[in-house]
Amino acid sequence: MATKKAAPKKPAVKKPAAKKPSSRSTTKKAATRKKSPQNQPNVPAFSADEDLEAYKVMLTIRRFEEKAGQMYGMGLIGGFCHLYIGQEAVVVGVQMASEEGDQMITGYRDHGHMIAMGLDPRGVMAELTGREGGLSRGKGGSMHMFSTEKHFYGGHGIVGAQVSLGTGLAFANRYYDNGNVSFVYFGDGAANQGQVYESFNMAELWELPVVYVIENNQYAMGTAISRASAQTDLSKRGVSFNIPGEQVDGMDVRAVRDAAARAAKSCRDGNGPFILEMNTYRYRGHSMSDPAKYRAREEVNRMREEHDPIEQVKARLLKSKTVNEAGLKEIDAEVRAIVTDAANFAQESPEPDASELWTDIIEEVSA
């Protein structure tokens, strides 16, 4: 592959339209949001259909995760189980901006990504229970799931690993010249791993079509972003590599879709990587047994009451009379039925056969 041409240089760091004020001090409270959906004038509107679609998928993710939490409480799911509740708009908005063949890769907080990509919730839930019907046939678990069919590359338990892997997916896109984009999701905590910056450099150097979607949910386990990051404006983390970055209201699915579409277009136009910092929030603990003493209950409540991604769309749907209360109830029932079916499947599917212990380790090559 050719190295970067010296001549036509894209503009250096773009100043995005809807940018947060940049005066962030290091003492900033992690969840102080400077931008609420109400005072964000430039969000491109969604059609009624788009709102409806986003609503259904986000609700499915929410209900799926609530069910997973319950099943963990009943001992049906083991180990670590990281719920995506609160962050639904990020993956749904990005998915709405993606095209057939685009890849996605993320960390261990991955259930929502698979549901947004259209994978059967049964397969996801059965993987959580470690059963034969799971996406990895019970061998991967909550943190390790993949789908070659849907171009979902995992599901990674090692913080930061997905960033260089996802950059490699973009390398392949560039190599094949297939016009696809790789969407690489990682957290505010992962953003401090060294391989992130090694990847940034290569991605820009070789103009790889990769959108780095930083899901800044304000905490890495118990560490608020300001306690771990010298530069808390994560959209600026590509500055020294000349990678453009934008901060996005990750609780507003319209803003997410819009930013992701522009970033992906820039990639497809051959301009190299793009960074999107999605400001979002996780409502639950880091994983199922996190006491979450590092933040006030009021902080969580305020985010839920004022910024909930699903409630925002719901309000728009009602206001535009796209659906009425009865219509919403129907959707809710539909979604609950899907989730209940997945949960039942995940409990009825048998454990993998004992012989599976020894399969899929290596592909035998005949001499």
Partner: protein, 461 residues
């Protein structure tokens, strides 16, 4: 249809808890996410969140009730249009064990409290390092490790702790609990998630004369940092012609936890044990954990200190001796016997000791040796035992290929070939990545019955 709220489990091992407090009363409306109760387990106070929306129809279990089994009905939630008469109607949707949101002193995060405290029953042979008549305190491995660090930090200002979540969160597995409070943020340092960076930084600080204790949240994440452990810490003394030292401890849980899958369940014992310039310690009991960690902190060399998450909560007797320090590189005979030698370390001892109990019932007396240190390896103690029993089984949780058992087998046949009456057998984890499924995970790990079978094979029974 009304929804039953069930007693939730905080971890896969929780079986019962105390319903400490109701935060709602009958008739209250709740929304998904509202707190409804506080539940105590042996380790934590958890807040319960409602999952479904509705009105509290009945609080079935009274506040203050102890030993409520997981999955027992604790309350009934009425859905729209229902009144309390629907409560008695028999078949209800049995779904909603609410979210368990632990609120106090839960163990870890990314750290499920895997095994409860459970005292460890019989350690047969008295520890020759403990003078007779010494008073004993019953403490967990977790506390022993913390005490070791605190004592060394009190006596030497150059000792400091660094790692992810070690300070404000009190440790992902609560091993550093209380250290921030006593020693402050100069000496108990929370890092970003950047293992390669802080392992290198700490190694540099050690070269400059400080004595860092680097906590890896687990050794799985030390793979990000292994270059500094080996290339920077282990080789500096040699490459500098003896001028420069790197006195540092790399510690954290190693090996399989429970149900966390392939990337979070690996035992690195033999990886580090292979490296000249390192010392490697892997204790089993709380007394050894304390005495050896203190020795590791004082050691002028880099020490890799391999703990085990499942052992953290186990309780053992620890001598109440001022400054309890044990020598690195000495194995310990845990149980005496003349028929077979079983060598193990760390979590492997649980299988070895279990098996020894079962074998004793059948009249086969096993001598059980806890290696405690993997480098240097106390081969003399093993050979002395094999000279007596003429049979050897090595038990370890890690993969079999190029394991600690492989090394012991090689050395014993080199040094004591004539004393062997049977081939040396290894009982180990299976040669596969750790599966997530509960049944497969069980099969992937070694077990006491496998140890018993190996012993019977070498004793020709």
């Amino acid at each position: 249809m009304s929804v039953e709220i069930l007693m939730p489990a905080l971890s896969p091992t929780m079986e019962e808890g105390t319903l400490a407090k109701w935060l709602v009363k009958e008739g209250d409306e709740v929304r998904s996410g509202d707190l409804i109760a506080e539940i105590e387990t042996d380790k934590a106070t958890m807040e319960l969140e409602a999952v479904d929306e509705g009105r509290i129809g009945k609080l079935v279990v009274a506040e203050g009730t102890e030993n409520v089994p997981v999955n027992d009905l604790i309350a009934v939630l009425l859905q729209e249009g229902e009144d309390s008469t629907s409560i008695s109607s028999a078949p209800q949707e049995k779904s909603a064990a609410p979210q368990a949101a632990p609120s106090e002193d839960a163990s870890p995060d990314d750290a499920e409290p895997v095994a409860g405290p459970g005292a460890v029953a019989a350690i047969i042979a008295p520890d020759p390092d403990i003078p007779e008549g010494t008073a004993m305190a019953s403490i967990t491995v977790r506390e022993a490790l913390r005490d070791a660090m605190a004592e060394e930090m009190r006596s030497d200002d150059t000792v400091f702790v660094m790692g992810e979540e070690v300070a404000e969160y009190q440790g992902a597995y609560k091993v550093t609990q209380g250290l921030l409070e006593e020693f402050g943020s100069r000496r108990v340092v929370d890092t970003p998630i950047t293992e390669h960076g802080f392992a290198g930084l700490a190694s540099g600080a050690a070269m400059a004369g400080l004595k860092p204790i680097v906590e890896f949240m687990t050794f799985n994440f030390a793979m990000q940092a292994i270059d500094h452990i080996i290339n920077s810490a282990a080789k500096t003394r040699y490459m500098s012609g003896g001028q420069m030292a790197c006195p540092i401890v790399f510690r954290g849980p190693n090996g399989a936890a429970a149900r966390v899958g392939a990337q979070h369940s690996q035992d690195y014992s033999s990886w580090y044990a292979q490296v000249p310039g390192l010392k490697v310690v892997a204790p089993y009991s709380a007394a050894d954990a304390k005495g050896l960690l203190k020795a590791a902190i004082r050691d002028p060399n880099p020490v890799v200190f391999l703990e085990n998450e499942i052992l953290y909560g186990r309780t053992f007797d620890v001598p109440e001796i001022d400054d309890w320090v044990l020598p690195i590189g000495k194995a310990r005979v845990m149980r005496e016997g003349a028929d077979v030698t079983i060598v193990s370390f760390s979590m492997g001892l649980t299988y070895a000791l279990d098996a020894a109990d079962q074998l004793a019932e059948e009249g086969i007396m096993a001598e059980v040796i806890d290696l405690r240190s993997l480098r240097p390896l106390d081969i003399d103690t093993i050979i002395a035992s094999v000279q007596k029993t003429n049979r050897l089984v090595v038990v370890e949780e890690m993969w079999p290929i190029c394991g600690i058992g492989s090394e012991i087998a090689a050395q014993v046949q080199e040094k004591a070939f004539d004393h062997l009456d049977a081939p040396i057998l290894r009982v180990s984890g299976k040669d596969v990545p750790m599966p997530y499924a509960a049944n497969l995970e069980k099969l992937a790990l070694p077990s006491a019955p496998e140890v018993v079978a190996a012993v019977k094979s070498v004793t020709y029974r």
